[in-house]
Symmetry: C2
Subunit: 643 residues, 2 copies
């Protein structure tokens, strides 16, 4: 994409030194940052456009006008601490931080790259004050920072930016009540009220009603203003400055602000929440903004802003097929909905991502959009299950398995049946970072005695699995789903029938056997077996979709003849398939005279492009092959070397 270009920081200096009025300067800086944010997203191949643009003027106002941060520096104890609780607007924030000299121009080209700028903010980037990306935690955390300032007697405020959809999270209301009760004077919140959440208007998903009144009832002092008007923002800060207790500015903004066609909602749907713009849209957007800039620079009598083309992209291609298991899941759910009237699907503002839109369109009465309120969603499902329905609950793995964990437990103690579909399971896609990569979900469901956990590796197995869960399972089910495009469709035997507790051999081998699941890891494991075959090592590959149910008789067959056994988890080494296999091998004594090694995501998952992230975790074919070879040749166990 050699036409992607950025405006270097030098141009910010030219604006600041120009004869423009103060707020006109901020407007020009914001437009420069809009271009850089769009370019960084385009270069990254993903990122959140709408919210980066709606909060852009707020970022610029805070860094360049309102906060003491640039004056005191990012480590000064008296600095104003600022971060965005929603976090996905970080392309906008990074662009402004670059304009302010906190991030190098070069780094701006490394959005969502390994070692670059995280897909959601992390404190490893100097100037980023908190990790965010999962919604609703920001004000609570800000309260902690504000209390710390109070305890130390440090000056400065804590200013937390939130979304308006984000206010649907219950934790927000916990944090509002406690901040008010404890009279946290140095805590400010700004709501980027752009009126649109993932892809629908907030008022359609879960109406906020009279937000000002609600927040005032919770004990905060509130002002409301146009979030694209620097004078209005300034006035709001002045207005609240001397109020006691915590303070909130509701900043009315427009999602996609600054690019006309990104400001619109078509047919009830907003299409610029996340994802990189296509070439044409990118070009049109840049042209629109640069047109404004050119005119303004002309008026100021200064030469047009300089654009610098992006560095040539480093190729880190990763194979992509036309298959997405989430899409297959969506089709299967639709069919299931036609066949069974007791099925109710629930979602938490991620319907398109989770593949539930076809079901939603076909059965609006049996689809419940819960908004960004995972706990409420899960307990609602509990009530439906108590009433004889079969609820199927959807969200991203991190949000569902973790945020609503106690609600899932409470439901499970009632011995009803609920299906939980944990999307975004595993390390890929890795652009959004660890707030989004689900690698703990199996461990979080594992200690429920009555819940089976499974992940399918291809479209066919996905359909079989959801049917099994709905029609056959006697207990709760947790399905992990990759939302990533399958690197290459896995070829299962033609007569493959999913059978509880049993996997299926995809490739035979006698030197070792690896158990693996999911589209990405099965693909990599088969490739690893090919690499090893070239070195004379024969690796059996077994697709094992059941993470916590293992048929002992089948296992004995599956490992027979192999002295080395491997489990490959697209999950933490704790509580995944590896632990289940190890337990089964121990209980059956199959472990005797065999070595066992777990390959897994053995640290927090990193952010980056697919190939570089898999390589980092040693979970690409090369890494897997190397681990297998090392374990079996360098003496993981004396058994092998002595055999």
């Amino acid at each position: 994409m050699n036409h992607i270009s950025f405006i270097p920081r030098a141009e910010i200096f030219r604006v600041l030194e120009s004869g423009a009025a103060r707020h006109e300067k901020l407007r020009l800086i914001a437009d420069i940052c809009r271009i850089n944010a769009l370019s960084s997203i385009k270069l990254a191949g993903s990122g959140h456009i709408g919210s980066s643009l709606s909060s852009m003027d707020i970022f610029v106002f805070l860094y360049f006008e309102e906060m003491n941060l640039l004056r005191l520096g990012v480590t000064h104890p008296g600095r104003d601490v600022f971060y965005s609780s929603k976090g996905h607007d970080c392309p906008g924030q990074y662009a402004v931080m670059a304009a302010a000299g906190m991030i190098d121009d070069e780094k701006l080209q490394q959005l969502r790259r390994l070692g670059g700028l995280e897909g959601h903010p992390e404190v490893t980037t100097p100037g980023i004050e908190a990790n965010t990306g999962s919604l609703g935690m920001g004000i609570s955390k800000g309260k902690g920072i504000a209390i710390a300032k109070r305890l130390r007697g440090d000056g400065g405020r804590v200013i937390v930016l939130t979304g308006d959809g984000e206010l649907q999270e219950g934790q927000i209301w916990e944090s509002l009540q406690s901040s008010a009760h404890h009279g946290i004077d140095n805590l400010w919140a700004i709501v980027d009220a752009n009126k649109v959440q993932t892809d629908r208007p907030v008022c359609d998903v879960l109406e906020l009603k009279n937000l000002e009144a609600k927040v005032r009832d919770f004990g905060w002092t509130v002002a409301r203003c146009d979030g694209h008007d620097f004078s209005a923002l300034d006035a709001a800060f002045r207005l609240l400055k001397n109020a006691s207790g915590p303070k909130m500015i509701i900043a009315d903004t427009v999602k996609g602000k600054g690019v006309s066609f990104m400001e619109t909602i078509d047919g009830g749907l907003y299409k610029w929440h996340s994802g990189a713009p296509d070439d044409d849209s990118y070009e049109r957007a840049i042209n629109e903004i640069s047109g404004r800039l050119h005119a303004a620079f002309d008026t100021l009598g200064i030469s047009k802003p300089v654009f610098r083309p992006a560095n040539p992209a480093i190729s880190t291609a990763y194979p992509v097929s036309t298959e997405r298991v989430v899409a297959a899941y969506g089709e299967a759910l639709l069919e299931l909905g036609k066949r069974r009237e007791d099925i109710v699907a629930l979602n938490a503002d991620l319907s398109a991502d989770c593949g539930t839109r076809p079901f939603e369109a076909a059965f609006p009465g049996r689809f419940i959009e819960c908004g960004i309120s995972e706990q409420d969603m899960v307990s609602t499902a509990g009530g439906l299950a108590l009433s004889g329905f079969l609820p199927i609950v959807h969200s991203f793995s991190v949000f569902l398995a973790s945020r609503a964990n106690e609600q899932i437990y409470a439901n499970a103690t009632e011995n009803t049946k609920i299906i939980y579909v944990c999307n975004y399971a595993g390390v890929l896609p890795a652009g959004a970072g660890r707030s989004h990569q689900g690698v703990r979900d199996a461990s979080l469901f594992g200690a429920l005695p009555n819940c089976v956990i499974a992940e399918p590796c291809c479209a066919d197995e996905t359909k079989q699995l959801i049917e099994w869960c709905a029609d056959e399972a006697k207990e709760n089910c947790m399905i992990r789903l990759s939302i990533f495009s399958s690197p290459g469709p896995v070829k299962l035997p033609d007569d493959y029938r999913l059978t509880a507790g049993r996997g299926v051999m995809l490739r035979d081998g006698g030197d070792g056997v690896i158990f693996v699941y999911g589209p990405v890891m099965v693909f990599e494991a088969v490739k690893a077996a090919e690499l090893l075959a070239n070195k004379g090592f024969s690796l059996r590959v077994v697709n094992m979709p059941w993470l916590n149910r293992i048929d002992a008789g089948w296992l004995a067959e599956a490992v027979s003849g192999c002295r080395a056994v491997f489990a490959l988890d697209n999950h933490s080494p704790h509580g995944g398939l590896g632990d289940s296999l190890l337990n089964a091998l121990s209980e059956t004594s199959l472990i005797q005279s065999r070595t066992f090694r777990k390959l897994a995501v053995d640290d927090y998952p990193v952010c980056g492009l697919p190939a570089e992230v898999l390589a980092h975790h040693h979970l690409d074919a090369e890494g897997i092959a190397a681990s297998v070879a090392a374990a079996t040749t360098e003496g993981l166990s004396p058994l092998l070397t002595s055999s």
Copy 2:
């Protein structure tokens, strides 16, 4: 306790057939139920008094006056569905259900007993509509039931009783907004607004401010009335009857209502929230209520109500020492607070239970009472940690590890250090049931790469552990603590120094080795070893406080000479010490030629008295000895029989 007595259901019939006015009858029934609730708590040895009494008149009004339930029956699809979201008021509810004939008089004497009435409501008791006990889920679940009624076209309402302290849970506000948005007309909530949470006034912990206004702003229609006045309750129901959308009645009540000395707050503390009354208090309470009843019965010209003595208690004594590790923890925390000014303690309305009151009293500025808002508490701790403080976060294991799981994860990704103290870990005390027994916590923390998990077995080890966590640990720490009185203080070697990754042998043996932790399980394991010794089996007992850090060299010594290895978890078999040991044995090849068996809480923990619950789970000395004997003599593995 042969003076404990109940008023049988026959007396309810006499009241109903008397010439009393309708609401006078309800008042008498409520007082009879007050006596029965107090007697069941006294007999159980624990239970929640204050809330049972404050909500008693509401229960009576609903079952005997407002609901169609007694007329239609508990399985009729058009019935009014009612349950208490707070759940701990179930002694009151059970008494009213017994008065209504839904529960046998005899069963009322089985509160908190195995196979009896659960310590918090469970659907296994006919007429109980939902499992509750962890706060804040009730309205969400009620919404699900109400939607199910709508989908099926069934009549009847869903009526959910909540506490007022409970409204601090964020999920409540999620459920309020979504119920209003979706216009759930058949959903009602009643707030038992008794103004007191665990042991302090709600307004002191986290003030609710103008609750009516808040709930109205969230889109509900609201009425407020005296919750002890049946006419007022009736009027509130009539007032809201035709309102569209969900409806809430805020019922102003008095905690402990009906027993004068249980209605008072002394020195800012309310002392009748939970726990059985002592003999004198029980007698005074019964005398006060029965005095009212006698007078009323006299006025009605009917003979005094009959009291029936409780059945003789079945002895299921369990040893109790004067040691409580929580108390030792509290002392150690206080000492730590004196020594380190960077320590901030946080709690979520369980300060007395978690032993943090001494710290709170000594360092009020460094103690943060967060109310019943675990998510807010954990993220607040995150902010403090980012600011260089060492936060120590306290709650019950189920609420902290599960409800706030994603917040814990988000904090951990920031690579700060926080200490999480999970109280009420393990199956004992078992009276409150599975909403309170923490047996999943290690699995819920296990997949955090930078968190050590440990549980001490005695006062001395508790003190060493919190000091190690504060002073030595480089990573996050999760401490499991039993709030149960230690059955017998564990005797550690005089020179015992807690060392990361290493346990300590308490008793030697050569036929097998068992790894165990915590005051209850170590006590039982040592007893089991004694039982086994009498049968000629020599069991080594190793106290292993580290659930997820195992020093490989130490492990080799610890198992040396033993062919059978056992792990004993006061936790689910998933993600506890057993899994860590199995992994370590596998990685070191120590598993070869050894058998390994996990003993653990292998289903949902049951409710009951300590001895019967341990026996049920085969975790008492006899059960442990039997498991060890069975595994080693009946051929868990061919290895042993062939050796």
